[in-house]
């Protein structure tokens, strides 16, 4: 069953959607029912990070071997990851509007994630500016490594070191502190896995489309 993981993605996503709205959640002021956004906003970012991680691994392997297959996968993983990142920013912004009272704020985590998205958009621009396949693969692979390191610094390290409004950073409790009976984890972990698989599925289609396009044009 080659496509078992695609079916798994569908099942996990459907489950997390239904359970996400029907299962009981911790009652918190300010958040109220919007705490359920945890099941969607956070998986966007987790999926993006994983897609970027796999991408940089393919980039490094491509540097070693010169295999353009790896370069293609690295590229499409970044493309899909960027979509997830934009959705993460959008869902976070909407959530912020109704909890913090503003669409955006000068917060370390927010600025860091926005900058990271720009860095990865620059990866796309960089690729577009190079026509020679091998050169494009090598240069963008090196850039990808720097981009990923910066991503980790901007969204993982810096926000934990200073004041931040964002949950889980700057001394704020993460939602694990509210989820005392682990009911949220019951939906959250499957949701993360579902969205990761979903992102990989989209990437898989993109890679196959690009490969087919190459074959047809030659």
């Amino acid at each position: 069953m080659r496509n078992w993981w695609k079916i798994a993605a569908i099942i996990l996503l459907t489950y997390s959607l239904i359970a996400g709205f029907l299962i009981e959640v911790p009652k918190q002021v300010i958040l109220y029912e919007s705490i359920r956004n945890l099941y969607f906003h956070v998986p966007m970012w987790f999926s993006m990070t994983l897609l970027f991680l796999v991408s940089v691994i393919y980039s490094i392997r491509g540097l070693g071997s010169g295999n353009l297959e790896y370069d293609r996968k690295a590229e499409e993983l970044v493309n899909t990851g960027i979509v997830f990142g934009i959705l993460g920013l959008a869902t976070g912004s909407l959530w912020a509007k109704y909890t913090w009272g503003t669409w955006w704020t000068n917060d370390v985590k927010l600025n860091g994630s926005a900058i990271s998205m720009l860095i990865y958009l620059a990866y796309v621009v960089l690729r577009g500016s190079l026509t020679d396949e091998q050169k494009r693969a090598r240069i963008s692979a090196v850039y990808n490594v720097f981009a990923f390191v910066l991503l980790i610094v901007f969204i993982g390290i810096l926000p934990r070191m200073t004041d931040s409004l964002h949950p889980g950073n700057g001394g704020n409790p993460g939602f694990g502190n509210y989820d005392l009976d682990d009911k949220m984890k019951l939906v959250f972990y499957p949701a993360v896995l579902g969205w990761i698989l979903f992102g990989l599925w989209i990437t898989n289609i993109r890679v196959r489309m690009a490969n087919l396009k190459d074959k047809i044009e030659i």
Partner: protein, 70 residues
Amino acid sequence: MRYIATIALMLTALITKAQEQIEMADVMRDNGKIYVVVGVLLIIMIGMIIYLITIDRKLSRLEKENNKDI
């Protein structure tokens, strides 16, 4: 100063009494409208998944056809 702050903070605890005070969307649950929300979102998600499956299948067909020619 610290004693005043402590007492002031303890007084705020009086307004954040029990779980029953925090208003959740219980009305939506009572009148069953929450299932409308779930239904709407399910329609959207299943629609998108069907789209993904369709283009996946189309791709597979094209790949097979392409491999036959070569």
